[in-house]
């Protein structure tokens, strides 16, 4: 690789700011645009086109990119403003940090954002392994570890991991970061079950963490500030519940790309007014599309449910579904927030308990802890989502590091088939590392699968 010098975050922010500066009435066919698009590295180009082709998606993306740009810029100036930065995995709700005036960075989202770097994330994935990490670890954290190794990414003030019991690679990656780069770390244990006793246990652990965070950083939790944040969360939840309602329609008016945004928003910015603004825009766009009878092109032929995550390294797949294949991507586990509670804002305790409940229902924690067929676990959720959103098929993207998902996916797929008659496709490919299975091969496999459905 040609070794880049500049800070990774700075370059990511630039990419997002550039993407958000694009006018709504942009003409992709104009010579200037064509030249600009030609200049982009391939993965960035694909993602850009996926966001820009359809005017509705463009509208949502503009808000999304602008909000994210602002967010990441805050991260850049955190040091100067004396704000603490904390890295978390994608099953740790960001609200508490917003309330404490700290900046939460979801490692998996950061890796996804880093895909916009010119050099890609591959050099960092490799570097993490070169410096000791087993290559069977998850690429979603390996990229960040690789960035730490180069010094292109500033170390956070704190790590907080809540993946214990749902994903070993994830929790080990945090332990590794803490030990290797000397970063303070806190852990939150996930109970095996999903009942009142489990929630109480989990909420207690969460409360301890909130206390520990304050002790370690000197931040103070202010009830009014917390309430403000949680109210934003509730508002965002109401909005995305409404979007989900729209999703139930056949054909589904909500653009496929919303799912990508939803994950990114929910796991970083929820609790902020920006997130509310984004969801409001997405809802307005979707409602309008519903009125106009707009859905995927040429017409909705297949409603697809990802049984776990989707692909992130090349988002062109979602516009391909949307604009060429007639595939409506209704849901994946990382956007499956239907069991998100509306939080009682009466006291600090009620809010912390509510946040814990929210977290116990976040992806990975909810579906991947415990046993596959236990109540409120993977199988029950997949049956629920397939029914609710009228999916015609399930797809397991077989992300190489998700060993526990690989280890039991078959049972889930068999049951979907048996109970709902829904067939599933099993793919093998990494969500972030394009080299494991290139997108062209993934598309071929989708095409073949779709052909058998029609």
């Amino acid at each position: 690789m040609s070794t880049p010098k500049a800070d990774a975050i700075e370059r990511i922010v630039e990419a997002f700011e550039m993407a958000s500066a694009l006018p709504e009435d942009m003409d992709l066919e104009s010579p200037e645009m064509k030249a600009l698009i030609e200049m982009m590295p391939e993965s960035r180009r694909n993602t850009f086109l996926a966001m820009a082709k359809d005017p509705d998606v463009r509208k949502m993306s503009a808000v999304f990119n602008r909000c994210l740009g602002i967010y990441w810029r805050k991260l850049l100036s955190a040091k100067d403003e004396g704000k603490k930065v904390v890295f978390v995995p994608f099953n740790f709700a960001p609200e508490i940090f917003h309330a404490l005036d700290m900046i939460p960075v979801c490692v998996e989202v950061l890796t996804t954002m880093a895909l916009t770097l010119e050099e890609g994330i591959e050099p960092y994935l490799d570097l993490s392994v070169e410096r000791g990490l087993p290559d069977t670890m998850c690429s979603a954290q390996r990229a960040v570890i690789g960035l730490f190794e180069t010094g292109l990414l500033e170390k956070p003030d704190l790590l907080v991991n809540g993946a214990l019991g749902s994903c070993d690679p994830n929790s080990k990656a945090f332990e590794y970061m803490a030990e290797k780069f000397n970063i303070p770390v806190l852990y939150l244990d996930i109970p095996f079950y999903h009942d009142k006793r489990a929630l109480d246990y989990y909420a207690k652990g969460y409360k301890n963490i909130v206390k520990a965070i304050q002790e370690m950083t000197g931040a103070k939790l202010d009830v009014d500030r917390l309430r403000e944040v949680v109210e934003n969360t509730n508002r965002a939840s109401e909005l995305f519940f409404e979007i989900n309602e729209l999703k139930r329609n056949v054909p589904n008016p909500v653009p496929n790309y919303y799912n990508m945004h939803h994950t990114g928003m929910k796991l970083t910015m929820v609790g902020t007014p920006d997130a509310v603004e984004y969801y409001q825009t997405a809802l307005d766009v979707s409602k309008d599309r519903f009125k106009r009878g707009k859905s995927v092109l040429p017409e909705e032929r297949i409603r697809l449910l990802f049984l776990y995550t989707g692909y992130y390294f090349d988002n062109s797949i979602y516009s391909w579904f949307q604009e060429e294949m007639g595939v409506s991507y209704v849901m994946d586990v990382l956007t499956a927030f239907d069991f998100n509670p509306l939080i009682d804002t009466s006291s600090v305790d009620s809010m912390l308990y509510g946040l814990a409940e929210e977290m116990l229902n976040l992806p990975m924690t909810r579906q991947l802890k415990g046993g596959w067929d236990m109540p409120d676990n993977w199988l029950s959720d997949m049956l629920y989502y397939a029914r609710t959103y009228k999916a015609d098929c399930g797809v397991f993207t077989g992300h190489t590091a998700c060993k526990q998902a690989w280890g039991v996916y078959r049972l889930v797929a068999d049951e979907l088939k048996r109970q709902l008659g829904i067939p599933s496709l099993r793919l093998e490919g990494d969500g972030w590392d394009s080299r494991i299975t290139p997108m062209s091969v993934i598309k071929d496999q989708f095409e073949e699968f779709f052909a058998t459905l029609l």
């Binding site: 069977t136 214990l164 070993d168 690679p169 929790s171 990656a173 996930i190 060993k403 280890g407």
Partner: protein
Amino acid sequence: MSALETLAEVSATRLNSFVSKWKSQGKKVVGYVCTYLPEEILYAADILPYRITGKGAADTSLADSYLTRVNCTFSRCCLELAFSGQYDFLDGATFVNGCDHIRRAFDNWRSHQKALPFMYILPVPHLLSPEALVWYKEEVVKFKEAIEGHFGTTVDPQKLKEAVSTYNESRKLLRRLYDLQAGTEPPLKGSEVITVLSAGTAMPKGEFNTLLRKLLEEAGTRKRVPDKKTRLLVAGSVLDDAEFIENVEGLGALVVTDALCFGTRSFWDLTDETGDAFDALVNRYFNHVPCPRMAGEYPRRMAFLKEQAARAHVDGAILEHIKFCDLHGTDNALLKRDLEKAGIATLELERQYGPLADAGRLRTRIQAFLERIRR
């Protein structure tokens, strides 16, 4: 027959004579896989805890239709044996949510037609906090009740006390053996120690203790292993394969201690016999030398390894892990860094479980490692 020969036979046979005898008395046998399962509870209920391993699986074709290439070969071998009926002699299996792989192996087994009549998972927290201890205790209570309910027995407090004492006895005897191994010219080869350990988890502890005592007596009269060999510590993922150690020792090394899950990690800590047996047991299992699954405990694991290394005067350490085992793989990467810093030459080995290991390629690396130490 010498004690060692008897133990070797036990270790080599899945349904060994001790298990047969136990069963012929109409008593139950229940399998387990993890050091976080308080075996004493089963033992006190007159149920034989039998450690499930993947020893002897020639391939994993049945298991591979459920678990996949990205799952560790230990869990696949275990499942293979289960699916091919080799564990039909068990009356039940009690797993722990040890790691992602074994948790899913359990899911597949209990959902399969080869599921045993009693399939139980004891969830263990991944943190050593006071709240987690409370949770763990509640779970152990539930586990005890599940055993009592299913097998129609009760775990009598007096019998539990006895079980605790029998198990402690076993640990003390093993520790005596390890003390001998730590000295110059130890009585046993490392591969023989693995055999002893493995036999100890496949037979009643009482009888195991008798054999251990005999073994220790015999040890005094045994020809000692000459001390010109390179003394090694082995740590990492589950290792049931005496052949692996034999391979290492065939190249001029002597494995004198370990930090393996069913090695020192499982017997180093005793259960307090003074207070309430149940509470003591819960405390002992919760706090014993932590497995890499326990978050935030890396420093303790590191310290334990260093302690073992110093105690047995090792010249180097082999940190092995089974491919796709992230828990040990990640820990080993850190351990390698810190052991080397402490002046202990360390070899990281990624391998496959049991028969699936690629011996030739491993040999070259081990030989080179020994050459490195002896330079």
